[in-house]
């Protein structure tokens, strides 16, 4: 009886301890704050601005930043700030969905391969290695080029489908080391099925690791999406940070010295991805006491 009541409290203590270190870790707090601020800007910005067409021509072309147009205007007289806010939304969405899909695929393949072992492991490992070697962007280029109409969702789905391999391999290795622990054996002896063992015994024991994997996949998805947009295979409608960079270079913002057009989108991508990476280091320190700075 005591054992069953002791377990939840113990779990709660661990969680409270993690939270204690989390709010005191500057890397984690700063990293997540930056991502949160930018995400909220993307989420609510368009509503507050009250503009629903970011590509509308609203003002004199090539205006430098003013109090009315915070980030100036493009060569066609589009408001760069409005595009920026909408672009943030698209880019973060593409990163989150793409990273999420990749994380789910990586978990399914990593758990099954690591837990089952044997033939299943061989086959899944082979698949992982093949997808790992094929350059992601090259495949995405081909698929996206043949798709006539492209949407953010489609882009995120395709990124998710191609960027999971390294994560699957890492999760497989972790699962492999957990598989022969006593508590897993005990669960197996009591007749618990494989999916349940994975979900209840193995996954919770590496939840911090899984979360960190998702964050890294999120960051890399943002970068891949931006590269695709830049090459000219972005969403056919709307605007994203990568598309803004593409338009800026295509309409010679460089030669005309319209720095306000190409500096903000790139800075925002760098900020989102960099903040995610830094938060990831912070998380590592929170979950791994060895790494904590005193």
């Amino acid at each position: 009886m005591t054992a069953t009541t002791a377990l939840p409290t113990e779990e709660r203590v661990v969680r409270r301890e993690a939270l204690y270190f989390a709010v005191r870790n500057p890397k984690l707090v700063i990293g997540f704050s930056i991502v949160l601020v930018l995400a909220l800007t993307g989420l609510f910005g368009p509503v507050i601005l009250g503009v629903d067409a970011p590509n509308e021509y609203v003002a004199m072309p090539m205006l430098p930043p003013t109090s009315e147009y915070w980030f100036g205007t493009t060569t066609q007289g589009q408001d760069v700030f409005v595009q920026f806010v909408y672009g943030l939304r698209t880019t973060i969405l593409a990163g989150a969905i793409g990273g999420g899909i990749a994380a789910v695929i990586a978990m399914v393949i990593g758990f099954v391969a690591g837990y089952r072992g044997g033939m299943v492991d061989e086959v899944l490992n082979m698949l992982t290695n093949i997808v790992l070697v094929i350059p992601t962007l090259a495949v995405l280029l081909i698929i996206n080029a043949y798709l006539g109409i492209r949407s953010v969702g489609m882009q995120a789905l395709l990124i998710g489908l191609t960027s999971w391999p390294w994560a699957a391999r890492a999760i497989r290795a972790q699962t492999f080391s957990l598989r022969s622990r006593d508590f897993v054996d005990l669960a197996r002896l009591s007749g618990v099925g494989t999916p349940r063992i994975i979900a209840r015994e193995i996954a919770p024991n590496m939840s911090s690791y899984l979360f960190m994997t998702f964050i890294l996949l999120f960051g890399s998805s943002v970068l891949i999406a931006a590269s695709l947009d830049f090459i000219g295979l972005g969403p056919t409608e709307g605007v994203s940070l990568g598309l803004m960079l593409q338009n800026a270079t295509q309409w010679s913002a460089l030669q005309l010295g319209l720095w306000w057009w190409f500096v903000p989108p790139g800075a925002a991508i760098t900020a989102v991805v960099g903040a995610l990476y830094v938060a990831n280091v912070g998380l590592d320190e929170v979950f791994n006491p060895k790494l904590r700075e005193t």
Binding site: V139, I231, F262, G266, V273, G274, Y277
Partner: protein, 331 residues
Amino acid sequence: MRQYFGRKLFIYGLTFVAAVTVNWVIPRFMPGDPVASMLARARVSQPEAVEAMRVYYTNLFGFDEPIWQQYLNFWGALFRGDFGISIYVFPVPVTDLIMGAVPYTLGLMIPAVLLSYWVGNRFGAFAARRKLLDNTVLPVGYVLTATPYMWLAVLLAWGFGVVAGWFPIAGGYSFSLTPSWSWTFFVDLLHHWALPFLSLFLVALGGWAIGMRNMIIYELESDYSNYLAALGAPAKLIRRYAYRNAILPQITGLALQLGVLVAGALVTEIVFSYPGIGSLILKAIQNQDFFLLQGSFMFIVIGVLVANFIIDIVYVLIDPRTRTGMAGAQA
């Protein structure tokens, strides 16, 4: 060792088959009639070009034949080095266009990758566990790895090219020159190469420095380092041993990063209109030139596979465990 290489080659062979199959499946899998849509999308004005393309496509796709025959034909054309005729510069074969672009891409990528790898590793190893340096290397490294390749390229082109006017910002060489083996041309080539190289180099640098720093810290905490320290070995010696152990995962990391590095080179080339594969791909996309696009895809895949194999050989050379058949690098 034979088993190690055999396994590697088997994986690469399968990867190649998978890539070719993807390349074959996608045009057929997409909705609509590929030949008609390609002819409609290709903005070709000459009627003889349109006719030649129609005949070519219909032959290439071979729609009257059974599907397995179509697949085999595709492989046949591949082994003959026949990637089709470009639409964008009709009637130049895709292979010729790509061969003209490959030297520029390799000339940009190989020095950038190798130098950033070497400098990054050295620097990361040096900075680890040195309070002041570490506190600057780490944030700078994270900002650099998080920077999109094209943005740094744009910033450098703007800063050093447009504002300062030190470097040209477009092309592989000046329009007034024709490629030749002269000194002036070489200097001009180098002048155009500097900025794209620098931007590729800088973005890649951050990742290697961070990776190496983390690995060195991990190695310095391991038993053999502690043992050496207890024996009174100088810190420099311990660091050297740690470096040799830490370099192994970094080599695996190089193989894993190849795809990202290629993607970075492609977008950097686009920013600088550098006449490599990246600019070719951009033109292929803008002109709906699918043969050029698919040919470039195959070349990139082959290049990445070859690079992977070279990395495997290097790994065997520096890690004796793989030679004796004991555990070593995975995949």
